[in-house]
Structures are given as structure tokens and as C-alpha cells.
Symmetry: C2
Subunit: 492 residues, 2 copies
């Protein structure tokens, strides 16, 4: 086994290094690349993708894996092999022609979607979306080999979790969130933030916040981009943010969110660098880190108390009277069409809408032709007002255009996991609020590093959460947390 495993891991290490380069090219494209370079970059990325595909389906992989598995005795080797087998089998199940057709179609589809969104014209996007769905269903069927197609797609993002499990969790969440939402919206609303906030001062503050949350700028950097994201693993994990003079919370909370993702990647055990264990284990666990940083920590009464002082230092008196008023403003529940602009309370309702619609699309129970109407009906039912245009509705998110079916539910699963972790963190660090009130997140982020982040891909996603919290994941802690928080803010 030793030789085969050694050869396999050396081969994987180079593959990971090349995959890391591909991620760096994407970062470059979204931040610094000259606009006119796009056609050349497409060829560069395609050439690298072809190299990666050849390596991922290399015939030697199967032999190495089989020879290694027989003798793998330690947990780390077994976990490495679990990831390697999963990705090798995935790559081998999908015909090369389908993989390249999917790459071609989704690459073009993103542009079609962007134009359709700008024109508020779903019909212009529908034929392309039909193509994408047909290809992803074909891929899902190849992966599922007789099993559930949606589950097969879901397992790309959240291995080991089924739609049925998620449905049970989300089914328990949705009615309670609806009731809470309605109550909050009927109560006296907190004042929204007013005024103008210098973008350079926002960037300066956001850097301070990133460092306060433990982001290591020696192994990272912060740039502006159209969409905030985190990119990379190991020793080079970069984040982006954006500034809007009207709305500093966009910059602040996007940054804290991405810092959560980035710290997960930065804090993985160094021994796993450039191996399959060296990245976050799933989208759901990843999102649990970004959301607990952003919400349970970053939007807490204690931390916002400290942040209020930081904002006054950065921007002067911006008209919010005191810490309590600021806390209510940060956590203001407000009507809106857009998922990414939603408050903590309503966010999951946006996600569950997409989860239900995309399962119906993949199952063939909903056609693309009927999708816009189905979206609008469901939105009216869940949010109580009508979608006014496609860019505020069915065209708002890029995900489906690039073939991300099975991805949306991991956002809410991440919130559920964040709820579980937060409850356990509160038990482990009883004076957490005292520390957060001083802008000190070290106990919190240290606990997350120790119990979640450092493991990288060592354990299965649900097991990471179960081990960290001592109990099976459930939506109950998230619900309890949201009820408590918003009942207090809105005196319900």
C-alpha cells in the first residue's frame, strides 16, 4: 500500500496545486484582469481545465486507490482516500463529451442570464436555462446510476446529505419563520441607517474588522469586486468586498461573511496543505462558518455595541443615538425582493423557495416555461407582496445559469449548522458577550478553529457538526436563537 498511496498522494498534490492555480485565475478575472483579456483568459482556463480533467480521470488513479485502500489504517489516509475515490468516481461516471458540453453551455449561459436580467426578460433566458437543466439532469442521472438525480447533484456540494433530510429540517423551519417574520413586520420598525459613509473609510474599517475576526493578511488580501467572495485555500486565501456610500453595512457584513469562509480555509491543519483534506469539507459547513461570523457573532448585541464605537470613530456621529438603537438598526427586518440583501430572519425563506422550485425543475414536475409564474406565486405567498420585475424575482441569482442545482439549500443548511455551533459555543464560552463587547472574537474563533476549521475534510460534514456540538444537527437551535433575538428587538 505504501508505494501506491505515496504515488497517489504525490499525483494528487500536483493536481491540487493546478486546481489552486485555476482558482487564482478566477480571482484575477474578478478583481484585476483587464476587461479586454476575457477571450484569452477563456482559452487559458479551458487549457488548464483540460489538464485537470485528464488528471482526475487518469487511469492510474483507480489502481492506486484500490491498492491504497487495502492497507489504509489511519484516519487521515482513510479520509484522503474517501475524498479521492469520490471525486475519481464522479469524474469517471460523467462522459467527457457531456462534461465539456456542460462547461461550454454554462459558460455561455452566464452571459445570456446577465443580459436577460438587465432587460428583465425571463423569456430571453428560458431556452438557455432549459439546455442547462437538461444537461445537469443528464449528468445527475449518470451520477445517480438509478438513484435520485437531485440527491446526486446535491452531493457535489453536500456529500452525505439527501434532499429528504433537508426537507424535514426546512419543513420545520418555514412555518415558524413565517410567523416570526409577520410579527416583526407588524411591530414598530427600527430606524434605518441614514447618511453617507466615505468608501475609503469603509475599506479601512473593514480591514480592521477582518483582522478582529482573525483573518491573516500575511496569507490573504482584501480587494474590491462586483460580488464579495473568498478564494483559495491554505497559504493564500483572498477575499473581496464592495462599498456603497449609502450602506456601509453591505461592506461590513460582506467582509465578515467572507472572512468566515477565509478563516475556515486558513485554519485547516497545515499537514493537509494541497491535499483533498486541505479545503472546507462542504458548502454547508463552509456557510456555517461565514454565517456564524456574520450573524451570531457579528450581528450580536455585544459585538454591535463595539462596532457602534468603531463606526463613530470612522464616520463621526451618523445620527444613531446609542448602542441599542444601532443594534436594532443592524438587525432591522425589512421587506425586499433580493435574497442577498435580506435580513437574518427572512433569508432562509428566500432559500427555501429556490430549493422547492429547483427540485421540481430537476424532477420534471415544473417546466422552465412555468418557472417565472411559479416563482412569483410562491413569493407572494411567502412574503405577502408581488414581484415587480424578473430581475427582482426569478432572474436575481446567477446560480442556475451556471448549472448550480443542489447548491441553494446549502445556504440554509449552513445557517442551521451555524445555529448548532452557536449554541455549543455559548456553552463552551460563558462570557462570550463580554469579549465580543470589546471587539475580541478570539475565544469564539478559537473554538471554531479547534472544533471545526482545523479538520478540513477529515470528517463527513454532518459528523463535523455533531462532534463539535455533541449532538446530531437540528434546526431547533437556529430557531430558538432567531425567536429569542427578534422577540427582544421587536418586543414580541
Amino acid at each position: 500500500m505504501a508505494d501506491a498511496y505515496g504515488e497517489l498522494m504525490a499525483f494528487m498534490r500536483d493536481t491540487q496545486a493546478l486546481a489552486s492555480i485555476a482558482g487564482r485565475l478566477d480571482w484575477d478575472q474578478e478583481t484585476v484582469m483587464p476587461r479586454g483579456a476575457a477571450p484569452q483568459r477563456a482559452e487559458e482556463s479551458a487549457a488548464l481545465e483540460a489538464v485537470l480533467h485528464a488528471r482526475r480521470t487518469d487511469a492510474r488513479m483507480g489502481d492506486w486507490i484500490a491498492a491504497s485502500e487495502a492497507g489504509a489504517t489511519d484516519d487521515v489516509a482513510r479520509a484522503q482516500l474517501r475524498h479521492i475515490r469520490r471525486s475519481f468516481e464522479r469524474a469517471s461516471k460523467v462522459p467527457a463529451s457531456l462534461a465539456s458540453e456542460l462547461a461550454r453551455v454554462t459558460s455561455a449561459a452566464q452571459g445570456v442570464w446577465a443580459e436577460a436580467r438587465a432587460a428583465d426578460d425571463f423569456a430571453a433566458f428560458a431556452p438557455t436555462l432549459e439546455q442547462v437543466i437538461a444537461l445537469r439532469r443528464e449528468e445527475g442521472a449518470a451520477l445517480a446510476q438509478g438513484g435520485d438525480v437531485y440527491d446526486a447533484l446535491l452531493s457535489d456540494y453536500e456529500p452525505g446529505t439527501t434532499a429528504a433530510e433537508l426537507e424535514a429540517m426546512f419543513g420545520a423551519l418555514r412555518p415558524e419563520l413565517s410567523v416570526l417574520r409577520a410579527a416583526a413586520l407588524e411591530a414598530e420598525p427600527p430606524a434605518p441607517l441614514q447618511g453617507q459613509f466615505d468608501p475609503d473609510a469603509q475599506m479601512k474599517l473593514t480591514r480592521k474588522l477582518a483582522e478582529a475576526f482573525g483573518y491573516d493578511l500575511h496569507h490573504g488580501r482584501i480587494d474590491k469586486a462586483v460580488h464579495p467572495f473568498s478564494s483559495g485555500s491554505g497559504l493564500d486565501v483572498r477575499i473581496t468586498t464592495r462599498t456603497n456610500a449609502d450602506d456601509p453595512f453591505n461592506c461590513i457584513y460582506s467582509t465578515i461573511h467572507e472572512v468566515g469562509h477565509a478563516c475556515y480555509e486558513q485554519n485547516i491543519d497545515d499537514a493537509y496543505l494541497l491535499t483533498p483534506l486541505g479545503s472546507g469539507v462542504s458548502m454547508g459547513v463552509h456557510e456555517s462558518q461565514s454565517r456564524i461570523y456574520e450573524n451570531q457573532l457579528g450581528r450580536s448585541r455585544a459585538f454591535t455595541g463595539w462596532l457602534y464605537g468603531q463606526m463613530r470613530d470612522a464616520f463621526g456621529d451618523f445620527g444613531t443615538a446609542d448602542e441599542d438603537a444601532f443594534y436594532a438598526t443592524v438587525n432591522r427586518v425589512h421587506d425586499g425582493f433580493i435574497r442577498t440583501e435580506s435580513d437574518e430572519l427572512q433569508y432562509n425563506l428566500h432559500v427555501l423557495l429556490r430549493f422547492d422550485l429547483e427540485r421540481a425543475l430537476i424532477a420534471g414536475d415544473l417546466t422552465v416555461r412555468d418557472l417565472e409564474a411559479a416563482w412569483n406565486d410562491r413569493f407572494l405567498a411567502d412574503f405577502g407582496f408581488a414581484v415587480d420585475k424578473a430581475s427582482n424575482g426569478v432572474l436575481q441569482d446567477v446560480h442556475w445559469s451556471v448549472g448550480l442545482f443542489g447548491y441553494f439549500p446549502t445556504y440554509s443548511l449552513g445557517n442551521v449548522y451555524a445555529g448548532c455551533l452557536h449554541a455549543a459555543l455559548r456553552r463552551a464560552v460563558p462570557d462570550l458577550d463580554r469579549q465580543l463587547g470589546q471587539g475580541d472574537t478570539r475565544a469564539a474563533t478559537g473554538w471554531l478553529k479547534e472544533n471545526v476549521q482545523r479538520h478540513g475534510g477529515l470528517y463527513e460534514p454532518r459528523d463535523v457538526i455533531a462532534q463539535a456540538t455533541g449532538t446530531a444537527p437540528s434546526e431547533a437551535p437556529l430557531l430558538a436563537y432567531l425567536k429569542d433575538k427578534f422577540s427582544r428587538i421587536y418586543a414580541l
Copy 2:
């Protein structure tokens, strides 16, 4: 032939795309990469380099080339095949073990050199330099196959040119430059530039200058880096510069120099994108473009007249009385140890010193042990004052540490070529000075694009210059230009 050539070119296109990615990683490393990412980047670059090496020595290449050559009838195909054969044979002649040893040793040597330079301690670098030279001699011998080793190394940077040809050119240049230099230094010196120049205003001005010289920012960008450089080909050609509040000329002329390199890459015929013809044909021709932009155009009386106004707009009155005084200041001949800080008149003397020493090192006529003394003796003879410390002498340039033997002479060859092109340009555009005096470089850069840049690798280096100028390259035009220019400035 058609099928083999088609397959070969498709294969080469992907190889070029991957090589382009490698260049982009280098740019990233020098500009934006977090410092702590270096160990991971080394693994990423090595993995990509291994992919490139495998492609460059791919056994199919030889068959494709042979099958293609038989039927290649048009100039473009023949030129593509000439480049492809040259690089395939080069890669095939060098044993893989030697190539990887060279990569390993030169990668580490750069760090050893940097530390030795910081400590002004040549002895600390000498053993490493001996290793580098031994490996490069071994490589040169493998490439030369009985021919001249130095010429084999030189042909990596300047194919088709021999050291003997360069020696004849440089031998004619050196005594004349020495006389001119001595005369200029004995004359009344122009005033140096005084004052402080806001770095942000320098960057703003430098952007304007870059665009004035035709640099296309839709396919490029300007960043700050420790060393100015140009990076990339085709649709994504980036440059870097640096600012020093005491010395805006450093930023201005570094930028114009790099813009010359970058415009060469940007202006190559689009049909050659991601092919062997899609990059500058040699270091010498490349340097001819950067130097003619920087010196014959950028430091001309006409252009500096316009630049004087731009600098006053950017920085206010900086104490230089008028355009004539400014022109003399820009072209001030001054003593100095450092090649890259040298003036146009003395620059080639710095290069010729290195050319002679490095040939002796490769031939075995000079040992590393005696190198520092040899450098210092020659410097005293050529410049009339003694080197005070190794960082001002033998340790000042990075080149030898990374194995660049045969590279230095291309700097002076570039100046010689720039001299030839400048003479031809003056004949082709009689009112050039009137245009440059208005900051309008379009006739000059247009002529260079049409006669040199657009061809990329289509013609051999000397042929590009000969075709553009109508005569074989010679040092005479450069010498005539320098004599004329500095005799006027210094009233010799």
C-alpha cells in the same frame, strides 16, 4: 501535412495558454500575492512547469513537426514550425534531470544572492554561483553539441546571433563611448532635479504617458512593484512601475520603457494569438522597442519639451527654469555604480563589462573566486572610480543568480537596434519632432508597429531590423545619435 500541422498547432495553442498562465502567476507573485503564500506558490509553479515540460518534450511533437515541415508552403506556417522545432529540440537536448536540477538551484540561488547583496558579501554567494555556472555550462554543452557553449546559451535570448558578432559591434562601440563619456563628465554639468514629487501624482502622470505612447489599458494595467517589468502577451499585457518622491524620472522612464515592451506584445498580429509567433521574437528586438520608446523618443528634446509642461501641471513649479534646462536635466550624465540607474550614454559600458566577464566565466577563463576582483578592476578602468561595496558592484544584478548567462548583451544589442530603427524612423517621418513636441507619438509608434511589432516571431531578429530599416544592423546609427545628442547638450 494539414492534419499533422493542425494537430500540432492545436497542441501548441494549449501549451501557449498554459505558459501564459505561468506568466500570470509570476505577475501575481511580484504585485499582489500575500507574502506568506510563497511556499504554496512554489509548489503551484512547479506543478505547472512539470505540465509544460511534459508538453514541450511530448513524443508526438517530433512526428508532427516532421510531417508538417514536408508540406509547409506559406511563410507563417514555416515560421511557426521554425520556432516549434527550435524549442522542441532545445527541450529534448537537455536531460530532464539537468533541467529540474537547474530549476531547483536557480530558484534557491536567487534568495542566496539577495541575502549576500544585503550583506555586501560576495563570498556568501560565490559557492552558489559556482553551482549555477556549472549547471548552465553543462546545459550549454548539451545544447551546443560540440559548438560554442556561450553561443548556445545566447541563442535562448537572441537566436541567430553569435558572441563574435556582438563582440565586433560592441568593440566598435566601447572606445567611442568612453571618449564621449569622459568629455561629458568634464563639461559643466546640468542641474539635477530637486524637490519632492507626490507619488500619487506620479502614478497619474505615468498613466497619461503610457496612454500617450499607445499602451492599451483595455488589454493591460499598471501596478506598482519593487522592479518595473512587463508581463504577458496578446490580450493581457501588464506593466509595473515604482515611485520615489525624490525622483519622478524613475517612475516616468521606467513606465515608458515597459510600455515599449508591452506595446510590442500588444501590437502583434491578432492571428498569432497563443501561437509561437505571438510573442516578441528576441530579447534584443524587445529591448529595441523599450529603449526607443524610453530614449530616442521619450528623452528627445521635442518630447521632453512637452513633458516639462505635463510635469508642471502635475507638480507645479519644481524649479527647473525652462524646456532646455529640463532637457539637459533629463539627460544628465552622472557617475554611478548601478547599471539600471545609468544614463543613456554610459549604460552600454555597464552591459559590456558584464558581457566580457560572463563569457570568461562560461569559457572557464575566469573563476568565481576571482570574479569580484575582475569586476572591480574593469569598473575602475571603464568608469574611473572604485567600487565601494559588492552591492554596488558584482552583486548588483539578479541575472547571474537565476542563470541568465547570455542575457546581458541583448540589452546593448537592443540599444544598437533602437539606433538603427530611430534613424529609419526619422527618414520615414520627417516632422517627427513637431509631433513629439505636442506629446503625439502616434506616427512613431505607428511606424514601429507596422515595421517591427506586428510581425511578432515571423522573421528572425536581425531580419526584422534589416527589413524595417532597409540595411543590415550596425552600431553606427546609435553612435552617431549619441554623439550628436550629447555633443549638443554638453557643447562638446
